[in-house]
Homo-oligomer: 354 residues x 5
């Protein structure tokens, strides 16, 4: 539940713009990595003293400053002040549980996204909040914990693969968002596998656990949709190129992300439809079973209850029951049993119950 | 029910603009608090004679006049006349059960909102109507009863925390609306807790009461959605900064509230989805139980009814029943009982009913 | 059914603009009332000769001509010709079952609305069509029968209450529409009461009649929505003040009606949601009862069928049944009965069926 | 099914604009009727040689050329060439199963509509495609078969009823479309009658056939909605008067059709809602019956199974059963039977099962 | 499942614009066909050396280059470089599982579509991705495998049927897309046949397999909708003629495709509605059967259980049971059996269970 409704009481009633960390403390220590590059050089370092990274603000090279861990609000505030961020932006950065959004300030763009991954341990989709600040020369990224989907971007910068070293911060920002959207496909594949497994289970041997699992999956899809669907608007705004910081040339790349986003959202919807269909199928297979159980009961009861009655008649102790004395009564009564029982069976065959 | 459809017959057919209180009389006495401040001073007082607060209308300082209690319509009318409010505005202020809305008059903005809180006593969400009049120098707030979410705003004014003392009435208005929207999160948390509790109950031991509680929660969500969803438009209008009284600088803060509003509305929708899912789960768990009950009945009946029939046969009193005389009949019939019963059990095992 | 699909065959295939009354003939005789007023005088009369009211067309005072009864098409046609109405407008006036709409002709506005009231006799919502023609000096209103929600407007004109005497035809038109929208709240209250009564019934003792009543109520809501929802557009158009005949000053009053209209529509939607929820609750309470019935059957059958079988065994007449001869057989078999029965009860307790 | 998905394989892969008839051949022979009129004269004839009607193209009178039967594609092509129609238009005319649409070419408007009628024989709604070509002086109408809703329009032209003789082709076109939309009301009335009949059946004696009929009706509504709903856009486009061929004066008449169209569409939606409601009612009445059946079974079984067990006890043949010897055993056991049975009945009364 | 969620992990994290084939390798070898034509000549050849087709780029004739097979990414890259395609376009071409889309670059248009066909072997709808590049003189088409719906287009070019030889690349592109949309109708017909067959099965003898088939069909419809619905936007964009490469004259043809697309989408929706209706019908027919089963059980049990009890009474071995000695007891008890049984039957007749 906490996944859906973040506790905010810690926050309620504070001065707007107060930088108070809301969320789990995930990282042990806040670490800051800097990659600075242009066409001809790359420099990469882990910053010990925060102020070391401030000098990159005004260089002409592209600098990517990645902050892992949000709980040391001092650090965040220092960075915020140095890069002239609006207090509300700083508040948003440390308040996890934000809705994905894009805000265009005059000299920087603020982007909030969700990084999704499938936790093998808890068999659940986990979300981590990632914020980007895109300025003319610097991209700041804020993550809740270390370890991310950005390793391949780093590799591409280091080895000058593709066009990333020849382009500006907008392309870097694109590359990072692209990596995040790509990670959604990985999550969707996981979901797809789960749906497939459940579908098989549904066809072979549906149990109440299958339904439970389907319900769980449905909740996951609600969570997924809530995390992903605002992205459409965010990337759409970036693609339409209203912010000046996104150059014409890079916009076409954002259009590509936009297409992927639509595809992700549509797939989530498709999965929801499929899960709903599987639930219906489970319920109708249950009711089929019930039908079968009822038929067995009815057949047995309908055949034997009347016969038992007949046997009961001749179990009565009346003095004057002429049949009891007859020699052929007993064989005759057996014939009656067999004929009556057989007639019932024929009747059920005709009704297609057998 | 009265929560959804306010009685209006008292009102129907009156001259439009008549100031007649519609709603419960919640406060004992109407009280008026005034806080007047600028960067350098704060003055706070409880007004005894209403006219005392009128002088603040034209001062250059920011004044917040808070009126608790709406049933003394004289007071409201006097204030309305002094601040030149449109008769329909005055009517709306005293008519609780209004839909949240924002109306931009030339020299003031009229805002109607709902304050929501969770009543621990009745275990229900309660709504109180709050109206704001925002003029250049004064913010008027009208509440149904004393005691509100604004204490922290007052504290910030008194202690000059944050930027509130350096800004105008538009920022004050923002701070008050922000406090209200924050209170929605508190209510949502309560709902979240309830959903969690019910989910647990659903997994461990669902009873008809669980369903009853889910139904109750669903009605609460309908009520919540009705109270909150118009807010999107209200805050959206304020954020787009069409009213001149909202300065450029403060608009960005309204954008923050707008984000929160969207988040609240989305969470309400998510809760609705979750509750609907839980209801489905309850029903399918009920039908599972039913299935189990039917199976037990069928197994017992199917095993024992035929056996009882066989016992019935040898309870018949026919004179000529050769089996009765045989020495091994009785042990043989026991064998038959055991074999027939065992065959049934095997059959049920095969059918996976056992 | 006729409430939803008006018979129109009488009409089909006629020359467009033919004034043929479609609908029940509700009033005995067509009556025409005229109220003529300005700030200083009021004149009120029931017109005997239709032409008497034509003179008001060009006076500078405000005139309200109210026509009760639509079946004397001659009268309607005469009025139409005198006030220069388009033939299609005249056709619409006498064709009840119109959808609420607003049409702006150059020198007059044509408005069609539904007056709703709750008929205590048939316990149903009834609708009456009301048309307004708003010209510069005259408001024409056409009703199906006498007796309406306008008495309080008349009273206000007579006694010069409020601002009605100081304003033009647009304000009069507003006052009339306001009276109609107010009457919707009365109907909604009635619905609210019914919902409350059914909710109580649902909790205490739901019967198939409860469901029947819920179904009836749902049909009423469909009808209500169909009658009311087009109003949003109608009043919205009037409020946006596109028609020149609505002065700036009066537009704000139409905005007030617009708010009420939204509130009415939302309440109808809320009621639909509540009714749907109650239906679900009825069904699940039914299925609960069914469950209980099944449990009782299963418990009784499961306890006694095996015991009956045991009794049946010792009712067999085999010659050689050693147990029959034993002295303690009978008490022992009672022990067996009690233990087996008790074990079953314990089993059911464990299963939480008891 | 064929009603929903027209076979098009005959068509697939042909050169676009090829005039190949797709659909049933409904008329025996293609017939062409011409009515030519202005204020002062009317001329009406059945054309033998197609070319006879070509001369009307350039006269200043209004000419209505009605073609019945679409299977002689030569005829259609000749007309098309003479009136300069786009090949795709000609293709659309002969391809029945088109979606209603309006296309504005520079010198003519092409309109596709559905004529609906209720076939008494098959108790189904049938649709016939009707196309109009509206030029400055000529209206061409293409029907699948003879016999239509246009007789009253012809009558009005012949007898100069209404304003039809004084107006141009746009008014003629309006009159024809109006006749078609009027015919929808007739179909809706039929549906209304059916719904009423089923509702009665539902209340008195619902059978599986009732449900079958409801399902059939629902399919009809799907078909109806598919045929009618595009009309909204078609008539809306004509009403907004974008095409130059529709004069200002006639536009108001199209607005009237627009209102009717909305009314038809809303009624279809209402019918769908009602049918859905009736289905729910059927299902819950079925489940009510089931409940009743189960109760009867449970009551009988619960009363008699324990009693039978008791009787079974004293049917056992143990040698030492003291009760068997007692004098009052038999009357006492009867008392037990009556008391136990009565207690059950009281229990069921308390449970409200009886 | 793989039909819905394409595996993309192979792709994730690569440099954007990398041309890596994603999807099944369907064709053995990549083949390239070229058709070059103008009004007076046609030239058709299968290209051995890829560079052979490059010369057509700048000729004034219309050239259609069709590439079958996407797995040889070298070939694709060479073509892409020669025709100056954007890297992202080249990436999209080889990544099957794209959403249909249209992108307008300055000097070419990029279109992605789905070719659908019904695989008789797997009784499933299969989708193949087709991409078009439309430049001033050349149309490039990329398919996953040989064999397509374009044969008739080729035929028309060869034989100069219709206007294709007289028009430019935009018309060729139209003809190809038209062929694809036509193929959708063929798939829909197949679906229609399946629905018809299932409907018949549903009426005659519904089995759980029927439901299974309906579920399968529903999944197909979800897949179909996902593949087709984006087409609306794609063709809509082409029709509105924003891209300069589409001439005014050809736009009208795209409008024709647009109409077909709407028709396809509406038919898919209609099918979904029908399938949903059929599922409801299946479920209610199942519950009908269940009702019937329950009734048989109840009738049998209710008739015979009480009678068995009576027989049980006189099977008791009490010493003092006066009835046992009476001469007429036995016939009387038979009368009781017959009367009691008959009364039950009458009762059931009255209840309409028989």
């Amino acid at each position: 539940m906490l996944k859906f409704i973040k506790r905010v009481s810690k926050k309620t009633g504070q001065v707007p713009g107060t930088v108070v960390h809301v969320g789990e403390k995930r990282a042990e220590q806040v670490t800051v990595n800097v990659i600075d590059y242009d066409t001809s050089h790359v420099e990469e370092k882990q910053v010990q003293v925060l102020e070391d990274c401030f000098s990159f603000k005004d260089t002409s090279t592209v600098t990517w400053i990645n902050i892992n861990g949000l709980h040391e609000t001092d650090t965040i505030e220092k960075i915020g002040r140095h890069f002239d961020l609006h207090p509300l932006v700083m508040e948003d950065i440390v308040t996890t549980g934000q809705r994905p959004k894009m805000e265009d300030f005059d000299n920087y763009i603020f982007i909030v996204l969700k990084m999704l991954y499938f936790s093998e341990r808890s068999q659940e989709i986990k979300a981590e909040q990632i914020c980007f600040i895109l300025t003319k020369n610097v991209v700041l990224s804020f993550q809740e914990e270390e370890g991310d989907a950005f390793d391949q971007v780093r590799e591409r910068i280091r080895k000058a693969k593709g066009r990333i070293r020849r382009k500006g911060t907008d392309y870097l920002c694109y590359a990072l968002i692209d990596a995040i959207v790509d990670s959604y496909f990985v999550v969707l594949e996981k979901i797809g596998e789960k749906i497939e497994a459940l579908e098989e289970q549904l066809l072979s041997n549906p149990t109440p656990d299958t339904l439970q699992a389907l319900h769980g999956l449905r909740s996951e899809m609600i969570f997924l949709r809530k995390s992903i669907s605002p992205l459409r608007e965010v990337v759409g705004d970036l693609e339409r190129g209203e912010p000046e910081l996104i150059t014409e040339e890079v916009r076409i790349f954002f259009r590509d992300i936009y297409d992927h986003t639509i595809q992700v959202i549509e797939t989530v919807e498709t999965c929801r439809d499929l899960i709903a269909g599987m639930m219906d199928m489970y319920l109708s297979s249950m009711s089929n079973k019930m039908n079968e159980v009822m038929k067995v009961l009815t057949i047995i009861a309908t055949i034997f209850i009347p016969l038992t009655f007949i046997a009961g008649i001749y179990g009565m102790n009346f003095k004057y029951m002429p049949e009891l004395e007859w020699k052929w009564s007993y064989p005759l009564i057996w014939c009656l049993f067999i004929i009556a029982g057989g007639a019932m069976v024929v009747y059920f065959k005709k009704k297609k119950w057998l």
